[in-house]
Symmetry: C3
Subunit: 135 residues, 3 copies
Amino acid sequence: MLFRKELIFSTNCREDLIDITSEINSAIRESTIKSGVCNIYVPHATSGVIVNENDDPNIIHDVLGVLRKLAPKGSFLHDKIDGNGDAHVKSAIVGPSESIPFENSRLLLGTWQSVMLCEFDGPKQSRKVIITLID
Amino acid sequence: MLFRKELIFSTNCREDLIDITSEINSAIRESTIKSGVCNIYVPHATSGVIVNENDDPNIIHDVLGVLRKLAPKGSFLHDKIDGNGDAHVKSAIVGPSESIPFENSRLLLGTWQSVMLCEFDGPKQSRKVIITLID
Amino acid sequence: MLFRKELIFSTNCREDLIDITSEINSAIRESTIKSGVCNIYVPHATSGVIVNENDDPNIIHDVLGVLRKLAPKGSFLHDKIDGNGDAHVKSAIVGPSESIPFENSRLLLGTWQSVMLCEFDGPKQSRKVIITLID
């Protein structure tokens, strides 16, 4: 059996991590699948998916700070094309997807885990997240 | 069809990679599913999953050394809360999950590949790994 | 239902990203599964899988440049064994797998996304990529 849903998010600044856990759990509750694996996929080459803590908002800044140090804006060959080489590199390293088990219609996240959409080249009006449930 | 099993591991130092390949293959043999994809998920925000060589134990130290250089202990905003900002950043970049094909009740790993639980904020008495098999 | 196919690629230099999107879409078309999740798995400890843009070939060099800065060749304990410690570290951080949804027998990639096999210790005559489709 298969359930698929597309979620849309808008982003407000160039770089951000946006907590999308509750929207994913809502999508899971809409389906008739109670237990399985949830594939979360972002079809954009300058964004990604991270799972980590969102209770202390400083962690978002700590993660973005390390990624900025790793891939500093303005230092890439691709910047001659459209100035976002750093965003592609961050996206490539973070990756576009996570697969997370769910049970009783809820992601089996740890207490301190949230699913976060990573924006590396915002703001953008429409960032898609494709949810696919498999059992 | 779906098979799920929770494995528990204890960790002995602050940072370590622990080979969990044989425990995962044992879980696969307990199920009736012979061939499919095995999702390995760690529900902790200061740990992760890596697949790499464990024949030369130096590789563990090489990987941990690069992650320490990338996210040095004591340099993060979150450290004011509980001193483990570096562990969250390492966990966010490494990621909590891998999905690996299996056949004849065995992971289709390469000769030099092992599945390793990453501890970034140990020692901990109980680190969970959730195994889900899908076919 | 399950469909599995092994693809083989040869690589021409020490480090490269090789676009394998069309070969994966061909494998999907060979199966009778129209919609599901495609697991792409590389069973090698010195390679990996990345999803990003391949329209501007500079992005490949930008990504490889950042990975080289992160894990410089010749600076690892494992180098005493066979001189490719940097390749293992890059492989461990990039990861051996991606899981991507597909529909109408095609990967649901974004406009600027390609699936790329990462070579970090080439050239190699035979790099395997295991494709598993699940619905």
